[in-house]
Amino acid sequence: MKKLINTPESVLEDALAGVAAAHPELAVDIPNRVITRAARPAGPKVALISGGGSGHEPLHGGFVGPGMLDAACPGEVFTSPVPDQMLAAAKAVENGAGVVFVVKNYTGDVMNFELAAELAAEEGLEVRTVLVNDDVAVEDSTWTAGRRGTGATVLVEKTAGALAERGAPLDEVAALGERVNAASRSFAIALTAATVPAAGKPGFDLPEDEIEVGVGIHGEPGRRREKLRPARDLAAEVVDTILTDHHLTPGDEVIALLNGLGATPLLELYVVYGEVAARLAERGITVARSLVGNYVTSLDMAGFSLTLTKADTQLLELWDAPVDTPALKRA
């Protein structure tokens, strides 16, 4: 394992020290593992809090700032945070208008946020939880823990963050988050596996010419393995897989997030995006907005995920709203 770290045990703490040093606009509580905005919003406003295992940077800490999150709770690498973090975050940023937790659908995250919500309620805070479950690689049946939460998290955090910033009430912000999640589907392909520092070796073995189709952001297995194919074919397959599940029809508008999983050069992401855009055009879907880059990563995994969110006037307007975070800025 070749990594720029001090020790596997100290990765999270050391990275938080770096975040603190690099971002005076954030307040980083290293012992409690909570990242908040350095400047508290003025009036009462719904506080938007997210969190999850580390290793997906810039998610979530990179999205803390005006127009997006109020706080992020980073867990150990690929391990959900503990309720104490979310409670500390909620107490730190609650601003008289209640708290929304944005939670990616993984058993650990769901349960830890659930306990946090209980604890926060005991302390008199009003909490709503928005569950993100957009990964169509997993069938959403009683046979599974349900679809995983991936790229749609960025969409939910951005749009709900914009709405919260405008002073919308708690239930409205939560409802918007749920609506954006419901309007979103994602699908990912990995070329290589991620190596968790504490594990010291790749999470799965993939032969030199094979890809994992439908991979999860912690290296969860996908639908199948197959030979690597040209970007054009992979893009078409990913688009078609999402459209099948999503029931978009010609004429629909989407926000498209083409996300790098961590080790994919931006040059390649643009190659893929060109093919995604072409395929969507063939299928009659209009891309109203797009975002290409590393937003929900999986450590050093090579590959990409595509998220398509059905757009409407309100969502586009919230998507376009100003935001000022380390990883997403818009004037």
């Binding site: 295992g53 867990g75 150990e76 690929f78 391990t79 959900s80 945070p81 503990v82 309720p83 104490d84 993984y106 058993t107 650990g108 349960m111 830890n112 659930e114 306990l115 997993v138 009683t142 046979w143 599974t144 823990a145 995983r148 968790v196 504490a198 594990a199 999470g203 999860g216 912690h218 290296g219 969860e220 297995p221």
Partner: protein, 212 residues
């Protein structure tokens, strides 16, 4: 039956310390099982949690079994994260809440049953979903049956440990329907569940603690 030893604070503390030692020892195995159908961190998750519990119990000092186990549960919740942290944390808190003082076998049986209820309430797993529940359920049944027929604490706990181990082994042919392993679908079949395995470890440790 004044002669029958009861499950008191010192025994509760010994149990937790013994779990910490057992987890330390079995960590590679738990990690290996979790690598096969999960994300390979179950061993280190529990080690982190129970190591923290030892520190918490040091700070707590002598206490009744309820306080010991509640503190343990709270610590697990605060330190573990992942799926097992809240599940075991809630379980130990529920066991603790049901043990205001030194307990006879029947009381301990009900406390362990309350722990199972807490796991099921939070995790919503049914027996057969290939989880902690599949070891904990037969363990509670065995403990309760033994206690009802007059078994001593060591006898009941040994029966529970045997049942938990059997339950853990019986998860091997199951397809996971909860947690990370459920993403594997049919590919989860043929592997023993890590959480059920650690539950068996927790019950075996209880039996050993009560026996020695």
């Amino acid at each position: 039956m004044p002669d029958t030893p009861r499950f008191d604070g010192p025994l509760a503390e010994s149990w937790i310390r013994a779990i910490a030692a057992a987890v330390e020892k079995e960590q590679p195995r738990l990690t290996e099982l979790d690598s096969a159908i999960g994300d390979g961190d179950h061993g280190s998750n529990l080690q982190r949690g129970f190591t923290a519990a030892l520190t918490a119990l040091d700070a707590l000092g002598p206490a009744d079994p309820g306080a010991v186990l509640t503190k343990t549960g709270t610590t697990l919740i605060s330190k573990v994260g992942g799926a097992s942290g809240p599940l075991y944390g809630k379980a130990f808190r529920a066991i603790g809440a049901a043990l205001p003082g030194p307990a006879a076998p029947a009381t301990l049986a009900e406390a362990l049953s309350a722990g199972l209820d807490a796991v099921r309430l939070l995790g919503k797993a049914e027996p057969g979903d290939k989880t902690i529940v599949d070891a904990w359920t037969p363990a509670v049944t065995a403990f309760r049956t033994a206690a009802a027929t007059g078994a001593t604490l060591p006898e009941a706990a040994t029966a529970a440990a045997d049942a938990a181990e059997q339950g853990a082994r019986d998860t091997t042919p199951l397809q996971a329907r909860k947690g990370r392993a459920s993403y594997l679908g049919e590919r989860s079949i043929g592997h023993q569940d890590p959480g059920a395995t650690s539950t068996a470890l927790i019950f075996r440790t209880l039996a050993e603690t009560l026996t020695t």
